[in-house]
Amino acid sequence: MRGTVFTETLLGTVRLDGEPGERRVRLDLRAAADRVLLPHRTTPARLTGRVRIAGRADDPAAEGELEVSPVARRRIRYRLAFTADGRRLTLDGWKSVSPRRPLTSMTVLPFTLYDGHTRVGEGVLRFPLGTGLLPFLLGFRFPRREDPGAHGAPRWNGTPGRTEVWYTTLTDPETGTGVWLHHELTAPADGSEPFAHGWAAVFPRAGEVRHARFGPVPWTRPADGFTAEGVTSSGGRLEGRAGDFRWSLTERPEDPPLFTFPRWSWRHPLLPAAQMLPAARATYEGELSYDTTTLKISGAPGASARIYGHGNAQRWTWLHADLGDGAVLEIVAAVSTRPALRRLPPLVFLRLRRSGRTWPRRPERSATGLLGLGRFRADLGLPTWTVTGRTALRRVRVDVTQPPERTLTLEYRDPDGARAVCRNSESADARVVLERWWGRWRPEASWTLEGTAHAEAGER
């Protein structure tokens, strides 16, 4: 199900009670609805944005509601709460859509200002057609609305030779310790009983990397998430013990799902494997202890991810980088194990989400380019590996460094029994440079992560 997101700017005047003159008002609003905006229906939406009243208010964190019903109710109603001079004011107004005066009635918004239930002013806002129409129309997006919890259920359908992974990585903001909780279901290719296993690992800023395995134990086919002998990853709860590790964490999704591979490949498992994040960003609370150390985790950024497929790639790298301010970068670069495909250069799936927008817009763009041209490139290696790529007007370079002392080397085993070596660091470094072309390449944004990037490189 898709939602609707658009931005709108309204300009006008307000006359505050007790003042002789009018003041200029400007509203820069972003509306987000949980369903596709259909003109003949009534669509409620959340409003956020900036309210400016000349000399009185400039609140960048205004919040409110929008009711869009131009045909059914002939009304587009705005209710917005904002702060002015330390007082919490409410703007309440609506456009009254009239077929006789479509332009005026769709662009003029009379409103009243309230302080609590007391009226403190009234005014009129107008949508600036000349300057605002094009950005308004081009700003419409219909993003999918998905419940992160809906992606926790096991995908495995009983087919032999499949592996399924629930893994969570996070960084404790207080100590800088990286945490990796890996839960895996393996259905061996020989048809023997599926089993569950996994491990927990910590990557302290100072000190050695520690990990402990749990399982294997028989797979009990839970309805949701991963459950195996006291270790669970389900419904926003992460609990378990492995060796001297104990953990009990709650997960709060902060972002919609992020499909690193094309969405179709997750829904229809045609590729050897696919990875996705039920929530591109999440925060964690709780406790994790190992040896004599106990981490009280609070507001830790991280993410959970899912993998389902035939097994591990021939070679691969992975990066999850929380860039701050809601931005997140997810990269998987992999070479298939299939005989013909293993000769190809790595397929790069790069997803950069900023301000609710994901770049490139389609995951296939970075992997295959346009008919093979302009695909993103990965230079795999250790301790540093690099991904570069460009679209028409934007290019990116990502350098990931996994210092050996902060890297854990583990052996993976595919359903068919093949082995692979994984080198994982939940406290890696990363440098991300984003540039935009406007006559020449100009810096757009850059991020440097020191010890907070989550990365992995694997090979046979």
Partner: protein
């Protein structure tokens, strides 16, 4: 000026009257101001009739009326009067001229006592009301029904906004202007609302904060038990069962009491005397005017504040409970949300300001109390007029009046305007009420033209007037969306009742000592004895009478049968959620008495039922 020549002719103005200071000279100006207040078709009709008379004079004499000698003008009028078919037309022309002449002849009446301060109202002119507001309930109309509904809802804790098309007229403003000026301002269409039919019926309704209660006579009858029983059993109007205590409440609110004799006035006393001699039951009316000073100006706004119109009694209570009144705003439509589960829901109202702007108030509850003539149009404009019976079932009280000439001055305009009720013929559906007119504003069309009319005018202080209203069959219909068009065809039974009423009034006036009775019938205006009156009425039909009508009800009747009643038994409009009908239109049939108390009690019951039954959330 309109018709200075015609005015001079009708009033037989001679050379002495043309001085600037003489009252006949001022009449054309006054006539112009009266016509300016009338709806355009009415004033155009009067102007066309004036032009026709002038053309006739021109054709007959070669000069316009103004240029003629008084004798020549008299000659022209006499020639016109010889054509009986023209008599009703000339009578219609006489009405505005007589109103203007009466006002100018009487001059500005002195105010008996300084006007007391009105209880405070929270009124805001529409121009100052924000274009976008919200409320828990919007009440359309501030008359008897609207005020009572607003008070009930506000006292229950709802934020209530009352929207009134008219202006707020404080008591103090009444004493400063002559009655005729107030008349044209306080009534819709300048008081010239007409129901089309044979005969056409004048149907005046008030338009001000307080609605028609500002301009009614203050007579407060309780709904008769028989009527309540009929509403309940025949129509299924269940609320009728609960109206008894609510009528008590309405009476308490309005301080209803029998009118004391001290200020009754000669008109009322003569009526009592006439009834006593005939052995008829008659008594001073129960009125809502404690401390009435007998100003005889009820119908143009009581200048002493004695009459407890709802703007002095109910609306102040509503405002004290938090209700607010927007004045000068005409509700264009009720906003309805259709895309909701179940039936469509009321969402508020859109109203027009006098300056052409619009204002909208969102509210989940809309109470229509715009009166039985306006509510159907409002519902049609709002897309809620789909019920086949909406606008039909219009009941009014057809009324006519008779004047009696006495040897001694009566000066009917000193005393209570509507003072005495004669209930002898109540069982026949006829209610006689001694009803005078405000100073200078005789509603009775005096007979004659020219010198004869002038003589009648000069001697009008010797006239006592009686009015009769009858319980009718609901034979009217309100049409129209943007403009209300009323059609009313007097039922044959009701025509007979009117003639019976005229006969009864004549008998009573003769019994009281009248030397002559003026019937108001153009072709037979006078009767010198009861027998002569009987002869005269034997040759008269109801269409010859000057019929006015009051108290329109029943156009959005409540009842149990969904096929016949647009509103359900609790006054909720069918087919939509959140629209209550709380004015005269909700009454399922003719109340047979002055309906203020009935409407107030019904509105109270409807609002109570909403609060106590389904309630705001239901």
């Amino acid at each position: 000026m309109t018709g200075d020549g015609l005015v001079a002719a009708l009033l037989a103005a001679d050379d002495t009257d043309t001085d600037a200071g003489a009252w006949p000279a001022r009449v054309p100006h006054r006539l112009d101001s009266v016509l300016a207040a009338l709806p355009r078709p009415a004033s155009a009709g009067v102007r066309a009739a004036v032009a026709a008379v002038e053309t006739y004079a021109l054709a007959r004499t070669g000069r316009r009326l103004a240029a003629l000698h008084p004798d020549e003008r008299e000659d022209v009028l006499r020639s016109l009067a010889r054509r009986p078919r023209l008599a009703p037309l000339l009578d219609l022309l006489k009405v505005p001229v007589l109103l203007a002449a009466g006002t100018e002849r009487t001059g500005v009446p002195p105010v008996p006592v300084p006007a007391p301060a009105d209880p405070p109202l929270d009124c805001t002119p529409a121009e100052e009301w924000p274009a976008r507001t919200t409320a828990d309930a919007v009440v359309v109309g501030s008359g008897a029904g609207g005020a009572m509904a607003a008070r009930t809802l506000a006292r229950a804790g709802l934020s209530v906004v009352v929207i009134e098309e008219g202006r707020h007229h404080p008591t103090a403003s009444f004493g400063r202007r002559v009655p005729l000026d107030r008349f044209t301002e306080l009534y819709r269409d300048g008081g010239a609302t007409v129901a089309l039919g044979r005969p056409p019926v004048l149907l005046p309704t008030g338009r001000a904060v307080g609605g028609t209660t500002v301009v009614n006579s203050g007579t407060c009858y309780r709904t008769p038990d028989a009527v309540l029983a009929r509403w309940r059993t025949t129509f299924g109007f269940e609320l009728a069962e609960r109206l008894g205590p609510l009528l008590d409440e309405a009476e308490r609110t309005l301080n209803v009491a029998p009118q004391p004799l001290d200020v009754l006035g000669a008109n009322g006393l003569l009526t009592l005397e006439g009834a006593r001699r005939l052995g008829w039951s008659a008594a001073p009316l129960r009125r809502n005017a404690p401390g009435c000073k007998g100003s005889c100006q009820c119908v143009v706004g009581c200048p002493t504040g004695a009459k407890q119109s709802v703007q002095l009694s109910v609306l102040p209570d509503a405002c004290a409970a938090g209700a607010r009144i927007v004045t000068g705003a005409r509700v264009h439509r009720i906003l309805v949300d259709h895309d909701v589960p179940g039936p469509p829901r009321a969402a508020g109202v859109r109203a027009h300001r006098p300056d052409g702007g619009e204002l909208e108030i969102l509210s989940p509850l809309v109470v229509t109390a715009a009166g039985a003539l306006q509510t159907p149009s409002l519902l049609r404009r709002s897309g809620l007029g789909g019920h086949p019976r909406l606008g039909r079932n219009l009941s009014v009280h057809p009324a006519t009046s008779v004047a009696g000439r006495f040897a001694e001055p009566v000066t009917a305009w000193r005393g209570v305007l509507q003072s005495v009720g004669v209930e002898e013929l109540r069982k026949d559906g006829i209610l006689l009420e001694a009803t005078a007119s405000p100073p200078g504003m005789s509603s009775f069309v005096l007979p004659g033209l020219g010198r004869e009319l002038r003589r009648e005018l000069e001697e009008s202080d010797r006239l006592a007037t009686l009015g009769a209203m009858i319980a009718d069959r609901p034979s009217g219909r309100v049409r129209g969306r943007d403009r209300t068009l009323v059609r009313y065809d007097l039922a044959p039974r009701d025509g007979d009742r009117l003639l019976t009423a005229v006969r009864a009034m004549g008998r009573l006036l003769f019994a009281a000592g009248a030397t002559e009775v003026l019937t108001g019938v153009p072709k037979a205006p006078r009767a010198g004895s009861p027998e002569a009156l009987d002869d005269l009425l034997a040759r008269t039909g109801p269409r010859d009478l000057h019929v006015s009508a009051f108290h329109p009800t029943g156009t959005v009747a409540a009842g149990g049968d969904p096929q016949r009643a647009p509103a359900d038994p609790e006054g909720r409009l069918r087919g939509v959620h959140g629209v209550l009908v709380a004015d005269g239109s909700v009454l399922p049939g003719c109340p047979e008495v002055n309906p203020q108390l009935s409407i107030m009690a019904a509105a109270l019951a409807v609002a109570d039922a909403w609060l106590g039954g389904t309630g705001p959330g239901g």
